[in-house]
């Protein structure tokens, strides 16, 4: 997936420049609340349950201060990504044991044309393994600054 296409799946309404949450559960809820507020999801409890189960499979904290909680659910009709940043960092059982600053929540329906969901996860990984990108994202205050990093500008 091209970076411009990946960028098209983000949305300024699903962007939190400074999360209030200070623990794992609260981060999941705060990001999920965005989907509910924007009427993308009606039953957040079902989606939260799915995210809890996903964390049982293994923490989605991939290290270097990044977490990508994700999953498919019958309670969603579109592939959606929310972004949230915590300057202080949140303990998230990450693979490297370090606090997480950058959160990408990816929610997808049971089936999506072209398997966009897995393509999004695959496209995020190289962007988020680049140290310069991570530094820039940790400093963003506005959506435009953030999406420039995703677009590789």
């Amino acid at each position: 997936m091209r970076k411009s296409e990946l960028a098209s799946h983000f949305n300024p309404a699903l962007f939190i420049p400074e999360l209030k949450a200070t623990d794992k559960e609260a981060v999941l809820k705060e990001l999920l609340d965005l989907f509910v507020k924007e009427k993308h999801i009606r039953n957040s409890a079902i989606v939260l349950e799915m995210l809890h189960q996903r964390e049982k499979l293994g923490s989605t904290g991939i290290g270097k201060g990044v977490a990508i909680p994700h999953g498919r659910t019958v309670a969603a009709s579109d592939v959606l990504i929310a972004f949230g940043k915590s300057t202080a960092g949140v303990p998230f059982d990450a693979m490297d044991g370090k606090p997480v600053h950058l959160f990408f929540m990816v929610i997808a329906p049971p089936n999506d044309e072209g398997n966009v969901y897995l393509q999004i996860l695959g496209s995020l990984m190289p962007i988020l393994s680049d140290a310069e990108n991570l530094q820039r994202m940790k400093a963003v205050r506005e959506y435009n600054e953030f999406i420039e990093v995703i677009r590789g500008e």
């Binding site: 409890a45 079902i46 189960q53 049982k56 293994g58 999953g71 498919r72 329906p109």
Partner: protein, 111 residues
Amino acid sequence: MAMNDLERLVSLQDLDLMIQETDEVAKLGFNVTGYDELQKAREELANQISRPLLSRYERLRAKLKRAIVPVKNDICLGCFLRQPTSLAARGREDEEIFTCENCGRMLYWLD
């Protein structure tokens, strides 16, 4: 969370999809060391669903891959057929489990 039968089925399918895609997700670099724990969670959830309903779910899953699908704007997102207005009204409010008259999948109303 206290779930009704429909919500348990939704969660069961969410789990089944997760289990199915474990290999793909692992190839992307995610940690999937809790696979056995996830299977256990699936078993525990399945045990909370009545046997006839679980059998119905498993039969549909074997035949159609996805046994339960979202409905948006009264359209079944399994086969894209519009649901009758009478069914749509009840599907939103009732805890009863309705099926698509066209594809036979169980329906979960999103709106």
